[in-house]
Symmetry: C2
Subunit: 311 residues, 2 copies
Amino acid sequence: MVQKNLIGPLAKYFDKCVDDEFYGESSWEKAESKFIKDTTNLVLSKSGITNKDIDFCFAGDLLNQCISSTFGLREINIPFFGIFGACSTFVEALILGSMSIDGNFANNVLCAVSSHFCSAEKQFRFPLELGNQRPPTSQWTVTGSGACILSKEGTGPYITHITPGKIVDMGIKDANNMGSAMAPGAIDTLIAHLADTSRSPDYYDAIITGDLGYIGRDIVLEIANSKGYNLKNNYNDCGILIFDKNKQDTHSGGSGCACSATVFSGYLYKELKNKRLKKLLLITTGALTNSTTSQQGESIPGIAHAVSIEM
Amino acid sequence: MVQKNLIGPLAKYFDKCVDDEFYGESSWEKAESKFIKDTTNLVLSKSGITNKDIDFCFAGDLLNQCISSTFGLREINIPFFGIFGACSTFVEALILGSMSIDGNFANNVLCAVSSHFCSAEKQFRFPLELGNQRPPTSQWTVTGSGACILSKEGTGPYITHITPGKIVDMGIKDANNMGSAMAPGAIDTLIAHLADTSRSPDYYDAIITGDLGYIGRDIVLEIANSKGYNLKNNYNDCGILIFDKNKQDTHSGGSGCACSATVFSGYLYKELKNKRLKKLLLITTGALTNSTTSQQGESIPGIAHAVSIEM
């Protein structure tokens, strides 16, 4: 479910595209909560699994105290784990959900995240009413929600490996250049994954990062190359995939928890299901910052979590 | 590790009591980060386990985007799961850590949380400089940090059962009465735990909730009684245990992630280790709210997570 993306390249893959940033609500925060609520109801409905048969819910978002997910899902009546990995939250949920299923604690797990351009800008940067000019390095928070259900039984695609990331802080301080802040974390997790699995990048049909955008993507390509990994043939980023650079004025690309979650749940999942994609490494990336730390002169720590998904 | 608690009833149990709310830093947020950093270094040092042998870290706090834990632990170099359950975060970490160990994904897991009265008041209520009068229902956020390491091997105490909670919202809207907002969640999780394990409350030497304080504790006792559970002999709350009602002007008691984490890690853990306590049900409680939702007229959803710990 993505808002205002009718001209975006992935619009046809999404269950629903919405043209009202308030989504019929009185605030952006309430709209975002409604996005995650409707998206989880939709995935439950499409799966044929009732919420009584879901053992755990893992959910999070970018808003202070994760209010989009807690308010959006407060009536869901499923044991609830709130998680926060900034824009990496979607794969954090997949990792924790996978472990709880593989460890025999759950049969079905719901993973859901959301983000909203307006609620995020208001909270992390400036009031939208100011009409601030955005620098070319900035990214556009995806307004929407993505959700999935992990099950012990099924016909795939399957999560085969998990690689939770470490926090990596390379000293980037520009809150309008998140791609640069998050790229080192993505590289760290990618290399940890390849080393742990003794794989080379070409094992995968696609290696997709969360929301590094154009600038972060280029940094990943360059650092990977300097470390002997060639990613040129199969690497892309959800922040690049989700928007049309020429038609949509989104500068360095998309970001937000919903960026990787909608690109995966809407597009990549269907590519896996249709076997156009058989081996995917999904690495979501997060900037662990807020407006207070920026004002206090802190740098922006990044993190990236990876799952290997095969059909 | 708890700040300014030298007159508190549990002071002698804590590794360190600190008298400077800035802890030598230039802001309360940085002080809180230093609390969680020093506490995790201390628990690593006391355990004799190096951070290379810790597989995962689960951590969280009350600050926007969980910056206390992410900045405090950004150099720890351990795969990191950020979690958010408000004041229930400590047991959320214990639950996720236990599952990852029991599911054979980890041998050692670090769980750490923090809170700080000043950073929390500033963020959730009013600037401290205003000197607002606090109503009798209000609680005092514990300034400090608690951490523990869960291990596959060891001599106990052992986590034997986990009961992650559902979100429960009974419509309480008073941000100065968190005990009332969280008590229904605590009851829901307690009853789920007792039903799942076919236990009665007297199975436990102690049932301890996270930070309901005096008002929340009384609500739990009353609702439990109305549902046929007698908790009068073995039930107490970390928010009551941590402060001296007569000597410390903390109204309805303590709160914050560090409330249950310091009471457990400092006091209850030692009681278990010394076998003065053999069967403990620890239920941490969280209010899933922020200042925006309060301003937008929303009620306060609560959540509670439980672990059964035996020696």
